[in-house]
Symmetry: C2
């Protein structure tokens, strides 16, 4: 039998922050590509590739090839269930030290997640939109209300141009640094583009950090509070 410390193999897999972030992202049940996971985990695609190989080797994730993408998902719901119980345990006992991910704290404040805004700022945005009733959560789906349409139109986003293609307009996306959802989808991308366009923030080169200027951050927050442009 000899399954002695095989438990440590699993622990080791979960023990790395980058891999834990990957697994957390996959806890949504959705299958994600390696690149998306790389963004979410805060490491480069090469590194993610290695992590995913190890996770697959350990039987925690499974790969599904589809076109030129390779989608990764948790192997089955038993894996998800174990992760769930681990998270619960961590939440119970874990009021000791907050771990930082593999990258610096600026990433927690604001960063790109694929092509939309994540981190603290991303969550502020999402929460405000929900609170104002601009976005409606129905289960795991997300839809835009009439007020929301007005708001985004005034903000400078041409909604009609977003409805092309099969990518959904709004989508929830799990945030690893905060374990909350932020806004993804075409709309999420459009918002971030507009933020760049207005000069409120710019992308730090060679990094996922979104650096807000002082005035940009203020205007961003003003809009969230006012709920209107």
């Amino acid at each position: 039998m000899k399954d002695g410390p095989d438990i440590s193999r699993i622990g080791q897999l979960i023990g790395d922050p980058a891999r834990a972030n990957i697994l957390s992202a996959l806890m949504s049940g959705k299958a994600l590509t390696a690149t998306e996971l790389a963004q979410e985990a805060g490491v480069t695609p090469q590194t993610t590739s290695g992590h995913l190989a190890k996770l697959a080797d350990g039987g925690l994730v499974r790969i599904r090839k589809q076109g030129r993408h390779r989608y990764y998902a948790l192997t089955d719901d038993e894996v998800a269930s174990v992760l769930e119980s681990l998270m619960h345990l961590a939440a119970m006992k874990g009021h000791l030290r907050t771990r930082t991910g593999p990258r610096d704290p600026a990433l927690r404040r604001a960063r790109v997640c694929y092509d939309h805004l994540a981190g603290d700022k991303g969550i502020q945005l999402y929460d405000a939109l929900i609170k104002r009733g601009h976005l409606i959560e129905t289960g795991d789906d997300l839809s835009l209300s009439a007020e929301g349409e007005t708001f985004f139109s005034n903000f400078g986003i041409e909604l009609s141009s977003l409805s092309t293609g099969r990518r959904p307009m709004c989508r929830q996306c799990l945030d690893w640094s905060e374990r909350r959802t932020h806004l993804a989808g075409m709309l999420g991308k459009a918002v971030l583009d507009e933020i760049y366009l207005r000069g409120w923030a710019k992308r730090e080169p060679n990094s996922r950090i979104v650096a807000f200027s002082q005035s940009g951050e203020k205007q961003f927050e003003d809009i969230l509070i006012a709920g209107t442009t």
Copy 2:
């Protein structure tokens, strides 16, 4: 909230083989001293001390002082339950690579566990005794049959002298390298003493390795097969 990758903290704790062995040993529900855990994990007491501190810091084990000993146990049954599910998961997915413990392979063959024989040889002994009906398993308890008494008497063990004190005569003990039980308790100690006395094996200095001589190993196995001395 920010319990982001706190899951990785737990994983990291479980991810080290020595700590996994410690946790496995504690899965019996019994509280064990640091020294006993060191023996079972295959590392020195200093190292074990550090591991236990980390496990306690992570909320996985709790300490109970009693006299000059400090007994360690799992914090609660939720921890045990999570470990249990992890073990199950590992058993399902884990037919890929067998991990070695922190020490060399000779430890797997034969070693002292506290004061009795563990490792491959310890399991051979235990299995043979059960198979011959010399030992009777009743649930988690272990008792000696009439044939067993004869067998051990002939082997040179004075059973009457073992029944003193509050230490049980026979006890099951979990073996980390094989994840099986071997014989502990006063009887376990007596057997190992007799093995030394007969010159079948001797204790490697500064190590837990029990080194059998070639003829000693043969005689040991002969006895197991014959079921009599």
